[in-house]
Symmetry: C2
């Protein structure tokens, strides 16, 4: 097993102007290859800090992956630092010079001379092409030839860095890590906690290595296998995962609940309408983040005030008075009202108490009721006691609303929450409050 | 000027499961006190990595602020590491033990014995209370008494860490940094680019230090002053900022456009309704993220399909045919329809092409039309050509919709976009592609 250290460079990272998403992206991909990330070193654009970071990173690990500090301006110092620290002369790579000139011609812009700084590469480095920008990356073997350090330098702009890492660095690293015999698969789950998943999965035979990633209110599970017949073994694992986790797995790989729901609706030619109260438009917002969602999403009514529930969704005032706005009866009537008003095949209604105010002993903060109305089947409704602050209650409620649509379309049973091991994981594992 | 290093601890950070937002939050606040963050060291929950991080951090800077590793389980090693490295015995703090027991009683849960681990504190440490969780933080002076290191340990859960930093650590650090003679003020702006802001602000007399933080689609500006009469000088700066940036400054400090809009509506007793098409519920979602928004937000209609615009908002089919769904005429009629349907004082309509498909030569992707209808004034409508991917167009359009409400309530002119220096900044500054 090889190890790696990550260096993130840039004043914007140590002043809090920008959140570093590069390091996490790289760490996640490396984990997929079985490479252990031992540390992330983040420094600003200053020579002495960069020297510290590079020196320590090479002590910590055999592979160093660095992002940032490759721009054209004087404060971009990564290549200078690498050259000086490892005793490599810098020289302009003619192919890169030509490519930079060509890019500026293409965009019809004069090229400031300092842009040629980006063509400087340390002697002995292998250039890593950057299809989306002027700064290429490179990799270099340094130190004792008997126990070398492999350093990789990439631009800091995530849009440029990510495809370079995935397309060029990872295949090389897989070879270096003795892979080609490593494979992984990722499953997206909802409605079951990390510990619940762990229990189920621990029982699956085989020597695959599992890892979990909680991203409230979901948990993704990745299995990594090494050795012979990687694909066949991953297929066997996947069959077991579906057999044991059943309806809690909603997709594989880079997907999202709103994407999966959209694909299901599109494939079956169904249209969807919404009646949102406590989620306040978040379900619609998530659905319409998916390009092409107008093919199946007709619209929704955010009936925040009770009068809006009456006039726009046809919820009788007597029903509101008898059961309260947060009730299964009202959620069901909201769903039916939205379906009728928008002429949709399926409609979901959501009403609840997002907090922090508005809770009572009988109906505490976090109580959310859902209704689903659809062509040719009886309307269903149900209540869940959710938890967390306003943001969490809204997010979890919007996820449940989407999951209800998925389960309806697939003919799966209603979501169960609150059984042992069946609650969505909390986002931070370190959260220690008993609340 | 004192310097600081930040340590972020947790396996979830070096495996890419969680993005570290703590370090950036801390760095931003420290910058506000004039404290220079020289590096961020991120390691997993392993003893040898933690020893490395703590040793190096104490070499790098005079103040070390660490988050994470304070949980109740065996893999939480921060306090053990600090105790061993600096030769301090650990002892359970009786007040903390009592508080943990009380929290579990309050939530009616049995307390696992390992939770008492969180009461262990190194000898000589000052306890920093955690109002939102069981793990307190602490600070400690270590090393050579003539040139001590000040170390601060906080929990890793952002919801717990942030108020502890702001309420307890920053006031102490301001004293340590020789402050009382340092002050800062932050202005939130929308509708003007970072370079546009820079130009305007450079002309303000005085020796204040400016910094910008772009958080698409907004830019915040912070001025820091040192020396004598800090408050009076900040007031003078603020007057100049308002005189020169006028209606582009929407608030000060930790606020958001939806919060400011909500406060304005509440203060004047106005109610709001929405008619959203391309923003697909995002405006409503943002408004309802604010606790208590039901006092002024009545609801909205997400009229994604044209038939929904007709039936729910009363947009005539002839108007849609004549001008198209994305037109100022339809935006105005949507706003009027929402105001009528919900009985609101003010209503905004938004219709546009979020992309990536659906654009034409005449109406390209990013074209978004807005309408505002209000009691006793003529309805106004206007189009803007926005940019970026679907997510950006939606976000920018939802921001404009909120800003329209703000400007309406305050009697300010309509937002201008596209003038020199008047475009919201793009998120990455390091982007080096000529495109």
């Amino acid at each position: 097993m090889i190890d790696a250290a990550i260096i993130s460079t840039g004043d914007e990272l140590v002043t809090g102007r920008t959140t570093d998403t590069n390091a996490g992206f790289i760490a996640d991909k490396l984990l997929g290859l079985g490479v252990d990330v031992v540390g992330i070193l983040t420094v600003g654009d200053r020579p002495e800090r960069l020297r510290w970071a590079w020196t320590e990173a090479c002590k910590l690990a055999h592979v160093v992956i660095a992002t940032g500090g490759l721009g054209p301006t004087a404060d971009d110092l990564t290549t200078e630092t690498v050259g000086a620290l490892f005793g490599r002369a810098l020289a302009a790579d003619p192919a890169i010079v030509e490519r930079i000139r060509e890019l500026f011609r293409l965009f019809n812009r004069p090229m400031p001379e300092n842009n040629l700084k980006q063509a400087l590469i340390p002697a002995g480095a292998v250039v890593l092409p950057n299809p989306l920008g002027t700064a290429p990356g490179y990799r270099l073997e340094v130190g004792d030839p008997g126990d070398p350090r492999h350093v990789v330098v990439l631009p800091g702009v995530p849009r440029e860095m990510k495809p370079m890492l995935t397309d060029t660095v990872l295949p090389w690293l897989a070879t270096l890590a003795g892979a080609g015999r490593i494979g992984y698969r990722t499953f997206q789950t909802f409605g079951i906690s990390e510990s619940g998943l762990d229990e189920v999965i621990a029982g699956i035979p085989g020597e695959g290595r599992w890892s979990f990633r909680a991203n409230f209110p979901e948990v993704s599970v990745r299995v990594t296998v090494r050795g012979e017949q990687v694909e066949a073994r991953l297929d066997a694992f996947a069959r077991e995962v579906y057999a044991r986790l059943g309806d809690h797995v909603y997709g594989e790989g880079d997907t999202s609940m709103e994407l999966v729901v959209g694909e299901l609706l599109r494939a079956r030619g169904l249209t969807l309408a919404l009646a949102e109260s406590c989620t306040g438009g978040q379900v619609a917002h998530r659905l319409t983040n998916v390009p092409g969602s107008s093919a199946y999403f007709l619209g929704g009514i955010n009936a925040y005030a009770n009068t809006a529930k009456e006039t726009l969704l046809g919820v009788p005032a007597a029903l509101l008075a008898a059961h309260g706005a947060v009730s299964e009866e009202v959620a069901a009537t909201m769903a039916e009202g939205a379906r009728r008003a928008l002429g949709a095949a399926v409609a979901v209604g959501v009403t609840g108490i997002a907090g922090p105010d508005g809770g009572t002993a009988e109906k505490p903060v976090g109580l959310v009721c859902f209704g689903l109305a659809a062509e040719g089947v009886p309307t269903v409704a149900r209540r869940y006691q959710l938890w967390g602050n306003r943001e969490w209650v809204k997010l979890l409620a919007s996820q449940i609303a989407l999951d209800w649509v998925r389960r309806h379309v697939l003919g799966l049973p209603l979501l169960e929450l609150g059984r042992r091991g069946a609650a969505p994981a909390r986002p931070q594992r370190e959260s220690v409050g008993p609340g």
